[in-house]
């Protein structure tokens, strides 16, 4: 096994394990912390795919901003107690079985759908994920969506303030 394969399997195992811990831990604070671990593992995958810009943006935006927002909300509302008002066990089991069926169907459908030997993701080569190429594309071809996304942010900010305001 080469070093790239070892890294791929290691990051995959970390991502899946921490994703499972997100949905199984009782305490919401632990869920947030495990989700941060998942995001770091996915950022590691981006680095492995040589998408360095997305790796950095993933860490800054998700692990840095969004998860801190989640932690603030949990801490401010004092939700970090273990108890989740528990109800129907059968409902829980039905949800898990439904999700498992979805996983099974997707895996069975996508297992070898016309995939040839050379259909491999280019790992650690190719410069399209570098910030030079992405920035050039973002400010030439995709400049209108980029500006529209700034308007989206402004409206989201105004909306959050209006919703969160005490009347």
């Amino acid at each position: 096994m080469s070093i790239i394969q070892i890294l791929f399997w290691f990051l995959s195992v970390v991502a899946l394990f921490s994703a499972l811990m997100v949905i199984t831990s009782k305490n919401p604070v632990y869920s947030v912390l495990w989700l941060i671990v998942t995001f770091f593992a996915i950022s590691g995958h981006y680095i492995l795919l040589n998408a360095q810009f997305l790796a950095i943006v993933n860490i800054i935006v998700y692990a840095g901003a969004i998860m801190v927002l989640f932690l603030f909300v949990i801490m401010l509302m004092n939700l970090n107690k273990e108890t989740e008002p528990q109800k129907n066990r059968w409902l829980k089991m039905a949800g898990a079985i439904a999700g498992g069926c979805l996983l099974l169907v997707l895996v069975a459908a996508l297992k070898d759908v016309g995939v040839k030997e050379k259909d491999t993701a280019l790992v650690y080569e190719g410069g399209i994920g570098l910030i030079k190429n992405l920035g050039k594309e973002l400010f030439s071809t995709y400049v209108v969506p980029f500006e529209i996304s700034s308007v989206l942010f402004l409206s989201a900010m105004v909306g959050a303030v209006v919703i969160g305001k005490k009347e």
Partner: protein, 109 residues
């Protein structure tokens, strides 16, 4: 790495997110599972963009850039969504003093 492995990893992460949404009752954890699903799709988009780049790099040396731009925009929309969604959860907590989604059944009666 073969693209199959990336597909399987992304599908597994997505299914874990679905199971979390279906089984948990805490609104914040449901929200976090939605973020997990968005990230699974992002990972698959990046893997496909690199696969496309590998196959078509002879035609256009910058092919495959679009996929990564889309991932960037998905992250932008996710950030906006989180800010509004957490404001809604805070408002819900202020009104019913809980984040349990089972209490939100007023439309049923």
């Amino acid at each position: 790495m073969p693209i199959n492995l990336y597909i399987l990893l992304a599908v597994a992460l997505f299914a874990i997110g679905i199971i979390g949404v279906l089984t948990r009752r805490n609104a914040i954890i449901i929200f976090m599972c939605i973020e997990l699903m968005l990230n699974a799709v992002n990972l698959l988009l990046v893997a496909f963009s690199k696969m496309h780049h590998l196959k078509m790099a002879g035609v256009d040396p910058r092919i495959g850039t679009d996929g990564q731009i889309f991932v960037f925009f998905i992250m932008v929309v996710a950030a906006a969504e989180v800010s509004v969604g957490l404001a809604i959860i805070v408002m819900m907590y202020r009104n019913i003093h809980s984040v349990d989604v089972n209490f939100l059944n007023r439309l049923k009666h």
